[in-house]
Every structure is written in C-alpha cells, then in structure tokens.
C-alpha cells in the first residue's frame, strides 16, 4: 500500500512540473508588453520598470520560470495588483467557503444520484427507470447558471423562502449558513447527481446480473439483502471513486454558482480577478485548483485500492 502511494506520488512529479509550465506560460498569452498589461495602459514608466523587475520580465523566459516556480515552492504566488495582498492569503481566505459549498453539493449529488441510480436499476424498464433517466439527462444538460437564476426567481423572488444571495459563515450561525448555501449546493450538485445516477445504474445492472448475485438469490436470501449486501456493495466502489474525481471538478462549477449567488469564495475570486486584470490571482487560483484536483485523483486511486482487496496485493 505504501509502495503504491509512493509510486503514484513519483508519477505525479512530471505532471505537476508540466502543469506549472502551462500555468506560468498563461501570462505570455497577454498581448503586447506584459508589464503594460499588468499595470494598465496609462502607467508611468517607473511603475512599468518596477513591475518588470518584480516579475523578472527583463530576464530570459527560463529564468523567469525558475524564479516563479521557486517562489511558488516557498508559498509565494505573487501579490494581487488590486488588493495589494499576497495571492496565497487571498486564496486561503476564500477556500473554506468554496469547500463548504462543494461538500454540500457533493452530499446532494451523492444522495440524489445514488438513490435514483439504485431505484432505476432495480426497477429497470419501468416508469421509474425512464423518469430517473430523464431527470439525470436534464441535470447534465441544464446550464447551472440558468438553473441558479430560475431557482432565485422561484424560491426567493416569488416565494420568498430562501435568501437570493450572500453567505453566512457556519461559525456565525450554522443554520443560516446552511440555508444560504442550500440553493447554490443544489445548483452545483445537480450535474454531478446526473452523472452519478447514470454510473450507479449501469454498475448496479451489471452487478445484479453477476454470478454472485445469482448465487445469493439461489440461497434464498431476501431480495433486499441481495441488493444491499451483495450488489450494492460491489457496484458502489467505482461510483465513490467517481465522486472523489468529480469533487475536483466542482471547483470549476463553483465559479458560476458563486457569481450568481454572490458567494465570496474561490470562484468569485477568479472572476473578480479576471474583471480587474489581476493576473497573478488568476494564475494562483488555477494552480491551487489543479493541485486540489490532482490531490483528489490521488485520494480516489488510493480509495479504489483500499475498497478492492484484489488490488491491494
């Protein structure tokens, strides 16, 4: 097991290295002089010179990269041009908000996706199966920013049941905090619920047709026990792995959700940075998201091996 984790960690090194090069090169996409792009068109020459020195823009590209990655490895992601604060501090301030939203969204996706997938597989070919499939496909196809707007219209503007926007920290008031993120979590989790439902359904159908399930039925076990103890246990392992992988993707979806519901998280940070041409923040957010995603993939791999005794040897 330790050897597996060590091997996966070693394999990650080249991926992370290339990832850092890609993220570093993003800045080179800026049209014209990067210093002007960073400081604005009307900046005075002294400021431009200072920026060139600060970001090593007067140095050759490989030197610029080495200096940047050296800073990154020491936790220095640069400073926000607009807020004048270290990018890492800004990210660490916002990350808990997005993580709370992502955990709630994943909880919603797992409860809805697993339940619908299992029912759909057990009741294959019935109206429940068709209904679950249609809802899953709708969940995947619904643009989450539109779903968010429609939910605000219905539950906030028309019914007045839920707050339309804003965020309350759980430390301040747990109940209000959960309520403030209820709609955003449903919006963010709906697409993944659809994906999980489809995977659960096909994994359950496969498990229900397997020899061990036939044997369990032949032993005279109750159908509920066959489904829960035998089919579900085997079918759900890959689905849980998928959930871990999708968790990384939630950070991407959070960008739009946080924008619609005005939640001061990680996603809103990147959008505000884009509007203000605060490129160091954009780079920092991309880097941290990718690291979280790579970390989640690693956890998914380890979880998969832990759940599957045959792979442990």
């Amino acid at each position: 097991m330790t050897r597996l984790i060590a091997r996966r960690l070693i394999e990650l090194i080249p991926t992370l290295l290339i990832l850092s090069v890609i993220i570093f090169l993003l800045q080179r996409l800026l049209p014209g002089d990067p210093a002007i792009a960073l400081a604005g068109d009307d900046s005075d020459p002294e400021l431009l010179e200072q920026i060139r020195r600060q970001y090593n823009l007067d140095q050759p590209l490989p030197i610029q990269y080495l200096s940047w990655i050296g800073g990154v490895l020491h936790g220095d992601l640069g400073n926000s041009m607009r807020l004048g604060r270290p990018v890492l501090d800004l990210i660490l301030d916002r990350l808990p908000v997005t993580l709370q939203l992502a955990v709630m969204a994943m909880f919603f996706a797992l409860v809805v996706g697993l339940t619908a997938g299992i029912i759909s597989a057990i009741k294959q070919g019935t109206i429940w199966d068709y209904l679950a499939n249609i809802v899953a496909l709708a969940g995947i196809s619904l643009p989450n920013f539109w779903m968010g707007i429609m939910m605000i219209l219905f539950f906030s503007v028309m019914l007045g049941w839920l707050p339309a926007s804003g965020y309350v920290s759980p430390a301040e008031d747990l109940q209000r905090s959960l309520l403030s993120l209820l709609m955003p979590a449903i919006v963010l989790g709906s697409g993944i619920a659809g994906v999980i439902m489809r995977h659960t359904r096909s994994a359950m159908l496969q498990a229900l047709e397997s020899d061990y399930v036939r044997t369990a039925r032949a032993k005279g076990l109750f159908e509920s026990r066959v489904v829960i103890r035998h089919a579900m246990r085997n079918a759900l392992t890959p689905v849980i792995t998928l959930g871990a992988l999708e968790f990384g993707g939630l950070l991407g979806g959070a960008v739009l959700t946080e924008q619609i519901f005005n939640i001061p998280g990680f996603g809103k940070l990147i959008v505000d940075a884009v509007y203000n041409r605060d490129y160091a923040v954009v780079q920092g957010v991309v880097l941290v998201t990718a690291i979280v995603y790579v970390g989640m993939s690693l956890l998914a791999d380890i979880g998969y091996v832990l759940a599957n005794p045959r792979l442990r040897e």
Partner: protein, 290 residues
C-alpha cells in the same frame, strides 16, 4: 488498391444505412436531431425569421412581457428578445462548431501520434494531456479567455484548446486498440509509410468513437461559450448571445423574469438535444445493441 481491400476502413454505404436505421429507432435521439436542425436553420436564416433588428432599441417598449408583436417580450433596452434569441443562435452554433474544430485539429493528430508511435512521443504527449486535464475545464477556459482578452473569437480558441486533451486521450486509446489489428500489420508489411497507415487505415476506424464524442463535446462547447459570455468573457455587447443575455437578465429578474427564461431555455434544449443525439449515436454504434 490491394491495401484498401485488407482494411475495413471507412464504414461503407451499407454500414451507414444500418447505422441510420438503428438511430431512427431511438426516438429521443431523433427528437434531438430535429431540434438541432431547427436551431441551425434559425441561425442561418435569422434575418428572414426575426421581424426586428436584434440591436434596435425601443425606449417606448422597455421590459414588455410576451405579446403578439414581441413573441418573447422585450429586454431592458426595449430590444426584441425573439430576434436576439434567433441571432444569438448564430453565436452559440458558431462557437460550438469552431471550438470543436480547434479541439479536433489539435487533439486528433496528437492522439494519433501518441497511440501509433508509442515510446517517448506517447509519454511526452500523455504527460502534457494529464497536466491539462488536471485543471478543471471551466477554470482553464476562463483563464485562457482572460489572458487572451474577452471576445467571441478568443472564447472559441479558449474552449477549443481546453477541450483538445480529451480528444488526444480518446484518439490515443482508440488507436492503441486498432493498431493491434491484422490489417494494420498487413498495411505496414506492404511498405506503406507511417503517415499513410495512420491516416488511411487507422484514422477511419477510430472515426465512429470520435464522432460520438464530438457530438457530446459540442454540447459542452455550447455550454462553455454561454458560461464565458455570461461572465463577460465571450460575445461582447450589444451583439446577442444566449449567455450574455442571461447576464443582463439577472438584473431585472423580479420585474421582467421572461428576459431570463428564453435564453436559458434555448441553451438547455440545445445542449439536451446534442446529449440525446450523442447517446443515441453511441447506442446505435454499439455492436451489443444490435
């Protein structure tokens, strides 16, 4: 040519007819196809379909609900929403097709090279793909669009480049399985150069999987363009796009909800149609479903 007879190559007419027959049986996929054709026709014939100029402002008709004159109502500048939806279809369809073409133009050759040559070529390409896939799709697209500058063209480039790794990975996987077939070995042993074996004998056989994925990727590209336009990084005002229409609609949600309903509904139905068609095509091409 002798080589051609050794390879099953491109599905011939009979195979296409069989595929179409199987696809036709899938009602949901067919409904999706019909809706897509309608949207494409609306995009092409937009000036003939729309009664109003999508940019024309009318301050005497601000935020009017749907009427016989303005079928979908008007927006905060008195512009006809139906005209903007019809013209907005152009941005969505164009973004879908162009960004997909960019993704295919980058993804397929690199995937083909990685799968066909293997070794260090495969290793280097696969590592770059792994790294790019580690960044969530929308975050990478936003970052690229932000650095390139906000415009519809740049958003299409951003989406295309972001989607390319998916096609590299898919093509590579398909090539690896096709490469082991006897007809590929036969083509090589007859002295065909690598490029000819790759493009004439391998590529046509990985096409069905690519077409299915491309249909599903079109749905993702349309959603992504709408997302970028919603964030102000795609189509720039006053030109209409479904995503940017939703952005402005947010501000008048309580007194003019219809402004938000139509563009979102169009994105949803178009994306749903591509997903239904893609699913149907995958089932129709699956040998187990025959």
């Amino acid at each position: 040519m002798a080589i051609a007879s050794t390879a099953p190559a491109v599905p011939h007419e009979g195979q296409f007819a069989r595929f179409w027959k199987r696809l036709r049986r899938r009602k949901a996929a067919l409904a999706g196809l019909v809706f897509i054709v309608i949207v494409i026709l609306a995009a092409i014939l937009a000036p003939m379909i729309a009664q109003f100029d999508p940019l024309a402002q009318d301050y005497t008709a601000i935020r009017q609900p749907p009427t016989a004159l303005h079928w979908f109502g008007t927006d905060e500048l008195g512009r006809d929403i139906f005209a903007r939806i019809v013209f907005g279809a152009r941005a969505s369809m164009l973004a879908g097709v162009i960004s997909l073409s960019i993704a295919l133009a980058i993804g397929v050759p690199f995937g083909l090279a990685a799968g066909y040559f293997g070794g260090w070529i495969d290793l280097s390409i696969s590592r770059v793909v792994d790294a790019m896939l580690a960044i969530p799709f929308l975050i990478l697209a936003i970052a690229l669009a932000a650095f390139l500058g906000p415009s519809l063209t740049n958003s299409m480039i951003a989406i295309g480049v972001t989607a390319a790794p998916l096609f590299v990975r898919l093509t590579r996987g398909q090539v690896l399985s096709v490469k082991a077939e006897d007809y590929v070995a036969a083509a090589r042993s007859l002295g065909n150069p690598h490029w000819r074996v790759a493009f004439r004998h391998i590529l046509p056989n990985v096409l069905p999987a690519l077409i299915v994925q491309a249909t599903l990727a079109l749905a993702a590209a349309i959603t992504s363009e709408a997302s970028l336009s919603f964030l102000g990084l795609g189509q720039q005002p006053p030109a209409p796009s479904w995503g940017s229409m939703l952005n402005t609609a947010q501000r008048s949600l309580s007194n003019a909800p219809w402004v938000a309903v139509w563009p979102g509904m169009m994105i949803f139905l178009t994306v749903l149609s591509f997903n239904l068609l893609g699913d149907g095509m995958r089932d129709a091409l699956d040998p187990r479903s025959r």
